[in-house]
Amino acid sequence: MAYKVDHEYDYLFKIVLIGDSGVGKSNILSRFTRNEFCLESKSTIGVEFATRTLQVEGKTVKAQIWDTAGQERYRAITSAYYRGAVGALLVYDITKRQTFDNVLRWLRELRDHADSNIVIMMAGNKSDLNHLRAVSTEDAQSLAESEGLSFMETSALEAFNIEKAFQTVLLDIYQIIRKKALAAQESASGTGVPQGTTINVNNMSDNANKKPCCST
């Protein structure tokens, strides 16, 4: 779901938050969209949803984020939400090895249900619990490289790298879309067919106001 609309925002990107239960997906979402963290949070049943609008390369981009229940049984409901997603934050917990070992299973889930060119960021969450670390940064990095994922360690509690992780995903998506648009433009002009709906890549919204968070 990467729409270009000419009001409120320039682009709407659908992102899914996936990963094992208890790795901190819901707190990553609340940190990113409301700058909140809740130690007493309930486990997610089904799906949750929030949005945030921000600037990417001078464009106003709205991130529409679906947070999913992590327990395997719930994939019967949650996998429907992968459809149309252009980005995914695949989260594991750096203090729980199992949640990292399951990253490959989540990747398979995405490949089965999501768009083939979905942008994936692997996030090793709870970096504030370094003294309980069970997954080394190097291990994660090499997995990310071999699977072609972006990677970052994050802490929703300390608001560390949360912003950056989403920004990176959104920027990657934006660049893919821009490339596609340029390619479409070139092929269109090459055949001499007038192209009615090319995406304008000029900085037309440089001074667009940053939209406030849409979720309360």
């Binding site: 486990s43 049984r73 019967a76 409901i77 429907a80």
Partner: protein, 347 residues
């Protein structure tokens, strides 16, 4: 064989003072004037309790007789709400769990002490994430968390095919506020295995088949009872899985105000799952004129954050009772089964 791996050490934590919790034991989010309203109804509540005590007899001895003789009186009284001090007992009587307990002496203890479950770590992970703002469950490794663990573990052994699924903790947690561990366990069994009403275990089985069926049926009900809203939802690409999964999976215990959840449970245990559909429809009906003007994102937000007046049980429940769903539920179930049989035959 460890009784409760990881939950053994009792760590006394800070217990909030009484004034910081509401009458149900939840930490108050903000001080409201609800206690004044509660005081007003006290004498009426005492009269109700006397009536109820007469109806159920000592320890529930007259209950079955009374229900057989005057089922409509019982239904009417339950719909008005079971007195809080008798709730635990009455829930066990109407759900059929008391009979299960009596027929299976020693079984619970066996499940808790001597069996091991593949779900133990999953259960432990979620214990502190179940009713985290309730005093009983707040204390790390305290009595509330231990009971919750034991009930869930026992169930995951009792039915290994279902095991433990997120959401079950909210059912067990709600029950544990009104009864002992063993009673709560058997009530969970009565619900999931269908002692009185249709079994609920399909909500938690692989593929969550009953969740999918209920969501399908709910969508049908919306387009039948609130056709304009139904059209608006489909235009905005809103489907019930975005807002109603939790309603069914936890029977409104996950995120609804506790006084409302309890009143729904009173009726749910006596009349069955129909009330969940009715309450869902009543919520949409109550907020109809607002919802119909909202676009996708605002809709999702509104469907997860109903206004306080909509969640007043004395307003919402009478509205829910007036909605008829039986015929439509029957029809949509047949249709659901037809649709879900087809692909298998073609394949």
């Amino acid at each position: 064989m460890d009784r409760s791996r990881g939950i053994n050490d009792y760590e006394p934590g800070p217990v909030p003072s009484e004034s910081r919790v509401d009458r149900y034991g939840f930490i108050k989010q903000n001080v409201s004037n609800s206690s004044a309203a509660e005081g007003l109804g006290k004498s009426r509540e005492a009269r109700r309790v006397r009536k109820w005590r007469k109806m159920i007899g000592v320890g529930g001895s007259d209950w079955k007789h009374y229900v057989r003789r005057k089922p409509h009186v019982v239904k009417r009284r339950i719909r008005k709400g079971i007195p809080d001090c008798l709730r635990g007992l009455v829930w066990q009587l109407i759900s059929g769990s008391r009979d299960l307990l009596l027929m299976n002496p020693g079984v619970y203890e066996q499940l808790v002490i001597y069996e091991t479950s593949a779900s133990e770590l999953d259960i432990i992970r979620d214990i502190s994430r179940t009713f985290p703002t309730h005093v009983f469950f707040q204390q790390r490794h305290g009595p509330g968390q231990r009971s919750l663990y034991n009930v869930l573990k026992a169930y995951s052994v009792f039915d290994r095919a279902v095991g433990y699924v997120q959401g079950m903790g909210f059912l067990a947690g709600l029950l544990l506020l009104y009864m002992s561990e063993e009673d709560a366990f058997w009530l969970l069994v009565a619900l999931l295995k269908g002692a009185v009403h249709a079994p609920m275990e399909g909500l938690y089985q692989v593929g969550l088949p009953l969740v999918q069926q209920y969501l399908f049926q709910f969508e049908h009900l919306v387009s039948e009872h609130l056709p304009k809203l139904g059209e608006h939802f489909s235009r905005e690409m809103i489907n019930p899985s975005m807002y109603a999964s939790q309603w069914f999976i936890t029977v409104f215990s996950y995120s609804f105000p506790f006084p409302l959840a309890l009143r729904i449970w009173d009726v749910f245990l006596f009349e069955g799952v129909k009330i969940v559909f009715k309450v869902g429809l009543a919520l949409l009906k109550y907020c109809h004129d607002d919802l119909i003007n909202l676009s996708f994102e605002k809709l999702i937000h509104a469907l997860r954050n109903f206004p306080e007046d909509a969640m007043n049980p004395d307003i919402l429940l009478p509205m829910a009772y007036s909605i008829k769903v039986s015929r439509s539920l029957g029809e949509s179930k047949i249709e659901y089964e037809k649709q879900n049989r087809k692909p298998k035959i073609e394949a």
